[in-house]
Amino acid sequence: MVYYRPIGQETALFETAASHKLPVLLKGPTGCGKTRFVRFMAQRLNRPLITVACQEDLSAADITGRFVLEKGSTIWRDGPLTRAVRQGAICYLDEVVEARADVLTVLHPLSDDRRILPLERLGEELTCPDDFLLVISYNPGYQSVVRELKESTRQRFVSISFHYPPPEVEAEIVAREAGCDADLAKTLVELGHATRRLRSHGLREGASTRLLIYAATLTVSGLPLKTACQATIVDSLTDDSDILQALRDLIHSVMG
């Protein structure tokens, strides 16, 4: 069973959206649990999950499908999106703003009341079964002008915002995931919380829950705590020498 600790109303929102066949947009900073949440919900709703990690070369054909040659003839091979539609699965496009513009165009008829997937090369138009659910995610912290979600896309989705959990909940998550004691988890969360105060003031993002779990995991495996923090938090967050020094000093202040 996938572990996910609900923070607010996100599970109820997702379930209700899914029951009404409404597509879902998850937004939040990196490493705050968006992907884990989708896996959790897929399990809870008992639906297959097909995940696509989007990147800048991902085209519409990559997700819908294409003809390929096999034994001297051509056969059609479904892409992950088409597969999800046919199976009635949850299709999760992670960091969708990274994908090429034609991907978003394919999503439009899927994410409004039509719920169809036109496959021009096959001359087919798939109608989504009730269980099909489109879920996309993005991190609004991106500052690049080329990585913004267009209004016409975002207004087709039910949006669920994710933030880092409150300290006591985050400590619970870190302890559970890394198998560490509550004190270590609390110390790491305190450290992570402090780094987030520097967001937009030297760091683009503070330490994510995921990084805190990594630090705890390395520590539980026997590495010294400061070494683990250096590797997972300090060096992962920045290359700026002054900020690196500040983070090292912070670790010293928090941990003694």
């Binding site: 070369d57 051509t74 991106y142 520097l198 928090v254």
Partner: protein
Amino acid sequence: MPAPTWPPDPKEAFKLTAREYGVDPADLGMDPDDDQQAEQAILAAFLFKNPGRQLTTGEKVGLGLDETRRSMAAWLAMVTGRRFPIAPSDPAATDGNVIFLPQALPPPLEHTDSLLFRAMALLQAGFLQHGVLNSQAVLRSIYDDWVLRSCFHLLAARYVVGRWSAAYPGIARDFRATAILDKAAIMRVNLTVVPTQGMPAAFKPLYKGLLAGENWREAGPEAAAAQRAVAAVDAITRQQAAIPVILGQARRLREAYRRMHLGPPPAPYFTGILRPEWMLALRAHDQAAEDAWKQGPTPLRQLRAAVATQGHSGGLSRKGPRGGLGLRQFIKKKVRRTLQGPGEPGELARSPAYGELRDQYRSRQHSPSPGSWTPEASWQELVDIPPAAGHEDGVPYDEWDPSSGTYRLAACRVLDRPAQAGPADSYHRLVQANRGPITQVRRAFQALRQEERWLHGRPEGSDIDIDRVIASFCDVHSGMEPDRNIYMSFQREREQVAILVMVDLSGSTVGRVIHLEQEALVILAEGLRTLGFPHAFYGFHNHGPRACQMERIKGFDEQYGEPVFKRMGNLQPGGATRLGAFIRHGAHLLSQQPQSRRIMLVLSDGRPEDRDGYRGRQGIEDSAMAVHEAQRLGVHIHCTSLDPSTGAPEYLGRIFGRGRFLVLPDVDPLPRKLPQVLRGLIR
């Protein structure tokens, strides 16, 4: 200066301090036998001065502040959750916003120097963070009694060290390590170093715990008062109790020292000094500004008085009685009628106060002064008189009124005009002085321009796209029309982006900020020239809603040359920041560019604010609406703010949205940071 000996009585301590300021105590006319008078004379003369010491050339020093300032500011922000600008001044102090630290620590340079700097910064931040200096009453109490202030300072330092140590184990260890440092234990009265040897027993318990060693154990009857005070502070468990306990104990100590004829207990180097006068002065200044706003500009007050003497006071108020004719409308009507019709001298025009106003108005008509704003200069905006002839030329923009949820039509006018030119060598001097950063920025921008990648599925190209060929082959086999886009091409240049850089030139940027803005612009301009994308530079500031000036430093269609260099090297600050108007005009300029990607980079140093009520919620909400409008025009806006205030992230987030702003509480990195921001946006 001879070293003082113990016991340093108040007169002696004051004389020493007077000498630090280069003043003969005899010139102050104080009675050398009257402690009270001596205190008052010294305090009156020096309270508002900064005894800050500047380093002399060749002076041997320890670690310099500049070497550690940036990382320390980041660390302090993470530990405290507040962003304190750090500036140089000795002794360490705070004015409530800024943490002042010595330009350099005493020699020799030691590996523990950064630890000492951190302890000093944390202590000053702690005075604010833990509420010790937040009370106006406390500041007033310790303001004019130096001995009381010194007692309060040491007890408060003790309390703050305890609070930080309880919160962070590493910090507790740092303070213990600081306590054994020789430099931390240098005893000073202001800047005068006083000996530890021979220090009165009555002082010693105050340092126990703050400093290590046996020196501070004192059990004699003279030490009893200090021991009691220290024990009381150590017993504080709730923050609400901190101020009453610390101030109460400091008062008792002060009385005890008065009876013993003792002056202020000296402060260990790392504890710095308290500056209640700075904090009171800042607060008084803010309060005065608030009060002035509430009362309105001086001429309007005079005008109101004049109206009242003419017998119209009965129903006049801002709320608009007299059948709906409020003061604002009444004045507008009267002034307009009188100014427009020389032959119709109204009753208002006969009043002496009005005569002065008319003269001011007329002089503004002929020579609008672009200097700093004064309430007197903006009275016409308040009463909404038709603007002077030259001011009608601008582009009108609507403004969002959050209280009514509607737009105010043509509420402001933006004048788009070339910025004033100065000497060209200023630009070239800045280029010379920044050769290193410029080379780096050019290289970084060059790399952006020459982004190399394969584009798949092109109608023509330098290589065959195997995947596409197979797909086309499949199409043919399936009896479909094959896709002819079967080539790959190598892209060397990316799609162009139109870039507008807008720089805040309001009056608050006077001094170091404007200088660094200018430096940042020059570096950015040199980088953008390499990049070759269409771009423009504008400065913005305003003198009321009808004179919002967009100073064109370089237009989109303008080539680099002496006219641009002369304008860029001559940025002139003044006026206010009606941000919404400038964002709307900037978006308008960008929307005329053919590129589909448009970036507006705003550089500002404070909240949107103008003198006619465009401040607070009005300024923020209108600016946020302007950003929203710009986004609808396909303009991506990012703000780099130099506002050090704690509330900056909140209002910037409201205006620009999450992830679309960067706050630099310390202005020094600006020239280096601005090109990085732009690069991040384009990449």
